[in-house]
């Protein structure tokens, strides 16, 4: 019975906690990849030619419609085999999560860009900036600030999704919890434990985002 099992479960804690680094690496790797790609996609989606916009729309539809687990299997077992590539589960996890995130992030940034008044772009052009300069120096600095709350959300989503990479054997929190459970049979306590660890990480992350938002906020700027 569960009785005193929690003591045994706690003994596995150090081993599990080591997985925190792996989890965070996967999460931030995915967020970074998602950001870089998402930024390019967002700009393309807003300012690109119709064909480009349709293509990006298709990309977004695909990566938001396919389940994470299916994509992980498709990539790791399917695509890598087809391309005769060998990548560790860790790298595959970051790539897949990153691609999915880029689809969502592109929409967040796109929404932020579209919420800016038209006058911003016009004014930039009026002082002689090229379109590219206008986007980089006037639009994006504002849009990115507006996108921060969306990132906070994206972080929590990817953090929880990282648990699914356990299916590929990535040595993150969930996998390690499972290992300890297999050894000690304290499934109940161990999964509650790892769940709480995830919650703590979520809390820290969203707090950090809130602080960043405060730091980069422009006084009196309201939308």
């Amino acid at each position: 019975m569960i009785g005193n099992g929690w003591k045994e479960a706690l003994e596995g804690l150090p081993y599990i906690l080591q997985g925190t680094w792996v989890t965070l690496a996967v999460v931030f790797g995915a967020l970074a990849l998602g950001l870089v790609l998402g930024l390019v996609l967002a700009v393309g989606h807003v300012y690109g030619k119709p064909a480009v916009r349709r293509g990006i729309g298709l990309y977004v539809w695909f990566f938001r419609g396919i389940p994470l687990l299916v994509l992980l299997f498709l990539f790791y077992f399917g695509i890598l085999g087809a391309l005769k590539l060998e990548l560790s589960p860790f790298v595959v996890a970051i790539i897949v999560l990153g691609l999915i995130s880029s689809a969502y992030q592109s929409q967040i940034i796109r929404g932020a860009i579209k919420s800016l008044p038209e006058g911003q772009m016009k004014a930039a052009r009026a002082i002689g900036m090229s379109d590219r300069q206008a986007i980089v120096f006037t639009i994006l600095p504002q849009a990115l600030r507006l996108a921060i709350p969306g990132w906070s959300n994206e972080y929590t989503v990817i953090l929880k999704d990282s648990a699914v990479t356990y299916a590929l054997g990535v040595a993150e929190l969930m996998t390690r919890a499972h290992h300890v459970a297999a050894r000690t049979y304290q499934h109940f306590w161990l999964y509650i434990l790892v769940g709480i660890i995830f919650m703590v990480l979520t809390f820290c992350g969203t707090r950090a985002m809130a602080m960043i938002e405060k730091k980069v906020a422009i006084k009196g700027y309201s939308r």
Binding site: M1, G65, L69, F77, A163, H187
Partner: protein, 224 residues
Amino acid sequence: MDEFLFLRQEVAPALMSGLWMSIRLILPSAVCGLALGVLVGVLRIYGNHFLKALVGTYVLFFRGFPLLVQLYLWYFGLPHVGIYLSPYMAAVIGFSLCSAAYHSEYVRGAILSIKKGQMMAAKSLGFSHTGAIFYIILPQAIRRALPGSGNELIYLIKYSSLAYMVTCIELTGEGKILASAYFKYMEIFMIVGAIYLLMVSLATWGLNRLEDFVAVPGFERIHD
């Protein structure tokens, strides 16, 4: 070519059986999740202190724990307290409870966005508290929550694939088994992916139609 046709005869039935299991997972979870989510959302606004704390804690944990961890708790953890759930039951319960927590956030936000005057007007006509909630507040709140809750239903379709992790063999599970047996990972998972994309697209289309259907002219969208 023969091999291809042969595979078709192997692949199709297995995937269809998996798809059927997926539907059997998604539909009940969607209905239960939504119903429970509305109830919890209402309780979080209109409940007494005790109820608010109770459901508040529920939402905190069920949105905080990854879905996979929750599923494992139901399937591997509960036996420790003497409850043995089948993979299917563990999956449906896990999906419903997790989904409901997210739905409740959308419902709660929707209720908060409705002007206080609506409740006052209802009461001034003689509506009881529950009557006002049921006939005046909820019809408006559910319309407002539709975009968010609809989104949550889409997520449910995708996350139903996790049932495979607690040995409930649905579409993804069948795909994995097939792919491992025939070493046709690429093809099988592309088909599996396509089927999910189809389900998601259909659901999105259906939800958009639903939003149009229940829309009321100029229904105030207060987003401040």
